[in-house]
Subunit: 465 residues, 2 copies
């Protein structure tokens, strides 16, 4: 058992406080003077860059192109789709003055950009030959929030928003699910994050969407975090914005549309799911520094030269490596490397050098390994790969342990105290959804593919759907 790092609160004592402590102490972020607007410090931003680079490559491999739309939306434009504006109006930041003059049509800082994409699509699409358009945008959006938490809920956050239009319903529905599966891939292969996927209920879906699919991840406090969404819009926006095309039979048709997004909230998920009382624990694929070399007696030239040689060999393998040559004690350096969640620590001192070995310490399970110096590059590569899998498997096991299926409202109530996912049969009525939410403080996260044949709604007793 590792000794707890005293600089941060323990998870058991106060999970929310532990989370904030880690965000600050690992130097992921800082608060600005404006509530809900955080500063992404280099280490936190580098995590986002790693998520972004992987996702961007996947998007491009599947034929998507990046664009950039204006950050401001005329309020008259935002009002064109009724459900959409109703959903977002209460969260808008409004520009009323530009260049010292009062604006006639106030401008809203984008809370999301469906309206801008639609307006543009209506101008550039004429024929089925122009379809599909598979656009994506990396940017920040503003949604005024009363209660904010670093990465998890902010008034400004970084994200990507994909917006696609298609000739047929089938193609648009396929796109919606394809992007959901790419998000599952990112969650697993970058963040070592297992998720539950499914459809949102009518009440919980995106403003203006016909269907919203979601990724839901389980946090150690038993709460569930929405970690990405993919929406199928049907022709709703297309009709509101007149996005039409001449089809193969020379008839005008409205396009079928999707949108999908993941945000810096994923950083929050990774902190909570993998972190421990010593700080952050980063999966190797998302870690800005994958391996840190800590020399013991760094004042000795042989040690200094050897760690620099090791760093070079690791970097040549494409492994993100740093040496800690600061004047702090080795113990202090270990602690700092742990706080920052660096997956592998390599210690090298005079005795190790004599033996031709070094000590590797894995951040995820504190396991110590003695390995030969010449084997470092290949072993480290192998261990990092294995750690990514271990972390995913461990998180998956925890998720499965806290995922139960119930048949009655009594069982639902009992399980709720423990936290986690509860699968329950439901008739699909809003009344039942609201009743369960009010009486038991349980929200519907998603509708899974699980078959509930012959089961009855836990609330009203009607057939489950």
């Amino acid at each position: 058992m590792q000794k707890k790092n005293e600089a941060i609160c323990s998870q058991k004592e106060n999970f929310a406080q532990w989370y904030t402590d880690v965000c600050k102490k690992a130097e992921l972020m800082d608060y600005s003077s404006l509530k809900g607007f955080i500063i992404y410090r280099p280490y936190g931003y580098a995590i986002w860059e790693n998520i972004k680079n992987y996702a961007d490559q996947k998007f491009k491999e599947t034929g998507h192109q990046n664009v950039y739309m204006p950050m401001l939306i005329p309020s008259s434009l935002l009002q064109k789709e009724k459900d959409h504006v109703e959903g977002f109006a209460p969260e808008c930041a409004v520009v009323t003055k530009g260049g010292e003059e009062k604006l006639e049509d106030p401008l809203v800082i984008r809370p999301t950009s469906e309206t801008l994409f639609c307006e543009h699509y209506s101008k550039i699409v004429n024929s089925y030959r122009d379809l599909p358009k598979l656009y994506n945008q990396w940017c920040s959006v503003v949604r005024w929030e009363k209660t904010t938490r670093p990465f998890l809920r902010g008034s400004e956050f970084l994200w990507q928003e994909g917006h696609t239009i298609h000739e047929t319903e089938k193609e648009a529905r396929e796109e919606t699910l394809k992007m959901l599966s790419i998000y599952v891939d990112i969650a697993k292969n970058v963040l070592a994050l297992p998720v539950v996927t499914g459809r949102k209920s009518e009440k919980e879906k995106f403003s203006g969407a016909e269907e919203t699919y979601t990724l839901e991840a389980l946090m150690p406090d038993g709460k569930v975090l929405q970690s990405g969404t993919s929406h199928y819009f049907g022709q709703g926006f297309a009709k509101a914005f007149d996005v039409k095309f001449l089809d193969r039979d020379n008839h005008w048709q409205y396009v079928y549309q999707t949108s999908w997004g993941i945000s810096t909230r994923l950083i929050g998920a990774v902190i909570m799911v993998h972190g421990d009382d010593n700080g952050l624990v980063l999966p190797p694929n998302v870690a800005p520094i994958q391996t840190i070399l800590i020399p013991i007696k760094q004042e000795e030239d042989t040690i200094k030269e050897k760690v620099m040689e090791i760093q070079k060999n690791l970097q040549e393998k494409g492994i993100r490596t740093k040496i800690d040559f600061s004047l702090k004690s080795p113990g202090w350096k270990f602690s700092e490397a742990e706080m920052r969640g660096i997956p592998l620590r390599i210690e090298l001192g005079p005795k190790d050098l004599e033996k031709g070995t070094c000590v590797l310490v894995k951040r995820n399970d504190h396991q110590k390994l003695e390995i030969k110096i010449e084997e470092i590059p290949s072993k480290v590569e192998e261990i990092l790969k294995q750690m990514q899998e271990e972390m995913y498997e461990k998180a998956k096991q925890k998720l499965e342990e806290r995922m139960v299926t119930v048949d009655t409202i009594e069982d639902l109530s009992k399980e709720l105290d423990k936290g986690g996912f509860i699968e329950a049969p439901w008739c699909g009525d809003l009344a039942c959804e609201m009743k369960v939410k009010e009486q038991y403080q349980a929200t519907t996260r998603c509708i899974t593919e699980h078959s509930f044949e012959n089961k009855k709604c836990v609330c009203c007793g009607k057939d489950a759907t």
Copy 2:
């Protein structure tokens, strides 16, 4: 001589119209319904991504780290540095409402982020051991503009802003010049853009800076375009924002600061400097598509298979390659590829296939080359490299032709009609600068390193400085 593309205005007829035509026809951008806020379409945004990727790598190689600051600045914070707020106040977009409530302290959408960086630095810097901080941010900024042109001047534009703080004046001054030289490198090696560098006059420097260095590029209409700036701030902002550290002698000192930026205006520069009456001409290093394969008789399987094989071979060499399999005629495809400025076009038809050769057409000088199919990958790589140099050299020659030195106000007046850079001795007084600007509509672009010993100011006759 190539036949002019009829879809766009000719440069001679109306250069400004030609520019706008190319922006639209090459599908680089579109207008949104909000004046001064453009849409970066996939092809235009991909150019920016290529600039960004190269620059970001250079910044990281020189020890810089990316961060992300809030997009909104409380107006009280913006007002802390007097010169700075005076310079930017007339251009601000102001948020006065958030989440349906009126804000007490209105928020300004960042026109630039010095104030935010300073506030953050004042919180995280304590000792000389914390220095330097070499931060950079990729984002968009808003500056309300009355007259706007795509990429060249907009109310919102994409850019990077570096903000660094240092222990000593010497180090900060070195950083200012180092970043200027990285910009010269980007201009040359990505954009094939020769520039003149120098210091801005007191009147033209950045609001709040002690010194502003600039990159100035010459456009074909004789006008000069500011294409990047690097500022040395001294301790001005540090004093206004209380950014202090304990130095090596345990005394409190203010940090020395720099900032530097390049923007999507560089896209405008590349369009103007290299473009011709057939459209865009992109240097290979910035081109989203470097080589386009145009099959003649694509319905024949042997042709289809061969172009796909060629594409695969080129892509394996890391060359960005596309095949145009659309149903348009080859002539139409050639024209489109020219409009989009794709550096190399490869034509392959049944007769070529028989001979085992294909036709290469260089976009920059319309030169046609017949080469053996099996030599394509290596030849194309070589030709693209050579084209980047040719384009730079051609632009450099034009710049040098239009760069003259004058000794008298009469000569200055004569040269002004021709457009271009004019080097003239100047005493350094604002009065002379203003007089020349008013009488001759000539602005001081930058103070070069050229020696003007024993020369007299063209305006007042005092010694030049």
